[in-house]
Amino acid sequence: MSIDQDIRSIVSRVIKVPEGEIDPNADLFKDLGIDSLLGVEIFATLDKKYGIDLPEKKIAKIRTLSDVIALVKEKAGE
């Protein structure tokens, strides 16, 4: 499974929305009903999976699944 698919699967499980319904460019907050607390939970799950520390302050800057994927890749590559 690619990292993109993996992240999509994690987000899907946390927010309880089927993977197929998550458009990578959909607004996570507006279209998928995520709020900051759920955003933190997604970050926490990704932290554990990839051994990284995604800063909570970045949640406000994240809009889409693609943003999340880019952030994880950036952090994992550091």
Partner: protein, 563 residues
């Protein structure tokens, strides 16, 4: 009920004398170690801040704003201010700059304590705040303030029970602000009378602080109560679940006060982990639930034993959880109960300091918010055939009023009774059950309130929107299912749309109208704090239903579009 209430400075002095060497506050620092402040350290810091305020000519009744995330310094500033007779104005760090400006201007704060990360927001607006005399950077200036050798010289005798201790803004970041004025008596009566819930709490207990400190529920239940009882407060490292679990395990947390959404996330996390462990773990977990359910029917509660692993994950020392701020799904309470955890639900509003009623260990009725605290009278106004009506409250915890807003105060306090805006009824045992709301406020699962008027005020600036109605809809799917979210119905201004489409040579289709309206909602919504922004919107080509005075009938619009 106790009628011999004490002021906040008296409480703090007594706690420092009684619990001096015990840990009061605790936070993990960058090196991974916990920094602790004893009650004596805490009291000294409070005195130092008080001395600094007096030196800066802050007088009794002056407003001091506080803008920071949860940390020991937040409590130092809160109590340091209140101890001198000045009024603390705790603000939400998530507010956007203009929202912040409106509240700071309304409060007339003479001094602002602000953490370094939030300074840029304040620096943008400070020159437009004529009352502001001093801006203190908590990270840079605090070490100097706290190194003062001046100690125990601040006398708090001039502070009286009916003096205002705090102004908490519940709304009005755009329209007419509603700053809730809470007196020393309001807050301390709630702290003292909360006894039925916290009677078994004392030195050795440890509260994990996860909710924002400016939230009245956290201020009273999560900060005042432990400090009154000699317990300690551990500030959560972050809201990430693994950090919370780590903090619970490392510091032997015994009490957690949080909002329903957090408990829902905990429960989802537990279930997810079980699922990930495979079929057998899932089957075993389901069997344990069934067994626990069966044993509960026989009045045996061995959930703590059956789900020992889950208890150990939470550190193994949890006495109970407290939930408040929003309604919790009773099934969450039941699932925690079957696992041997006690979750107590409380009810109240910022205007009531905040707790009005609560379930206790001895009287934990799922679906109810328990009985009124001692000294508080609750009644149902104008009950219907099902005994449901607006909940009214009277007691020493009812706010003094809204700051500089007598009209708004008059609307909610009549003959000493506070009209909560919530609909409820009493069960046969006198437990209050909240059934709905007769006010427009939207209460999100995270416990924060969103006032439709504020959102409408901001979004109505769009020339593309002719009419707008904002209301709380219940999310039907996803992790937030069952909780409220901000919804809007917009009536497009077709004249403006036509000329705009003509100008840009676009075909004016329904899709375009929907898309552009959404863009406008996003563009203007950026002026609002993130949680106030619209989650779901609908387009109505017909005018919205209105009263004879041309006010939109929000209740009917909500009913039409919720279905």
């Amino acid at each position: 009920m106790s009628t011999d209430y004490i002021t906040i400075p008296q409480m703090l002095k007594e706690s420092a004398a009684k619990f001096g060497p015990l840990a009061a506050l605790r936070i993990k620092d960058g090196s991974g170690h916990y920094r602790e402040y004893s009650y004596s350290d805490f009291y000294k810091a409070v005195q130092d801040i008080g001395f600094f305020l007096l030196k800066s000519r802050i007088e009794k009744g002056d407003r001091v704003a506080l803008l920071s995330g949860n940390r020991p310094e937040w409590s130092f500033v809160y109590f340091g201010t209140v101890n001198t007779g000045a009024i603390i104005v705790p603000l939400d760090p998530k507010l956007e700059t203009e929202e912040l400006f409106n509240l700071l201007e309304n409060s007339g704060a003479k001094m602002i304590f602000c953490s370094d990360d939030l300074m840029p927001k304040v620096l943008q607006i400070k020159d437009r705040l004529p009352d502001l005399k001093e801006l203190v950077n908590i990270d840079k200036d605090m070490p100097g303030i706290l190194s003062s050798s001046y100690f125990d010289a601040i006398t708090s005798d001039q502070v009286e029970l009916d003096d205002i201790a705090s102004i908490i803004y519940t709304s009005g970041t755009t329209g007419s602000p509603k700053g809730v004025m809470l007196t020393h008596k309001n807050i301390m009566s709630n702290v003292v009378e909360i006894g039925p819930i916290f009677h078994m709490i004392g030195p050795g207990d440890n509260f994990l602080s996860v909710l924002p400190n400016y939230h009245a529920f956290e201020t009273t239940a999560g900060m005042f109560c432990p400090l009154y009882k000699g317990a300690s407060i551990t500030y959560a490292e972050s809201l990430k679940s693994y950090n919370l679990i780590q903090n619970m395990q490392e510091t032997r947390v015994t009490i957690l006060c949080a909002v329903p959404l957090l408990y829902k996330l905990f429960l989802d996390g537990i279930k997810r982990q079980v699922e990930e462990k495979g079929f057998f773990a899932k089957a075993l977990f389901a069997c344990l639930f069934l067994l626990s359910r069966f044993l509960r029917l026989l009045h045996f509660n061995i959930g703590r034993f059956l789900f020992g692993m889950v208890h150990r994950t939470f550190g193994g020392h949890i006495k109970f959880f407290v939930t408040g701020g929003a309604a919790i799904d009773p099934s969450i309470l039941r699932d925690f109960d079957l696992m041997g955890f006690t979750v107590l639900q409380g009810y109240g509003l910022t205007e009531t300091s905040p707790i009005l009623s609560a379930c206790t260990i001895e009287n934990n009725v799922f679906g109810s918010v328990g009985k009124a605290l001692p000294g508080i009278d609750l009644k149902i106004n104008d009950p219907d055939s099902k005994s449901v009506g607006e909940v009214m409250a009277k007691g020493p915890n009812i706010m003094k009023g809204y700051y500089k807003n007598p009209d708004a105060t008059y609307e909610v306090i009549k003959d000493g009774w506070f009209f909560t805006g919530d609909l409820g009824m009493f069960d046969k045992n006198g437990n209050l059950c909240i059934t709905g709301r007769c006010k427009d406020v939207i209460v999100l699962g995270s416990g924060v309130n969103v006032y439709p008027d504020e959102v409408e005020f901001t979004l109505s600036k769009s020339p593309f929107i002719k009419e707008l109605c904002v209301f709380g809809g219940v999310a039907r799917s996803g992790a937030r299912s069952g909780t409220e979210e901000v919804c809007a119905v917009a009536v497009p201004d077709m004249e403006h749309f036509s000329s705009w489409a003509q100008k840009h040579r676009l075909a004016l289709t329904d899709d375009l109208i929907y898309k552009k309206t959404g863009e406008e909602i996003d563009r203007l919504g950026a002026e609002l704090t993130e949680y106030k922004r619209v989650s779901k919107y609908f387009i109505s080509k017909d005018e919205l239903l209105k009263t004879a005075t041309k006010k939109i009938k929000r209740f009917l619009v909500k009913k039409m579009f919720s279905s």
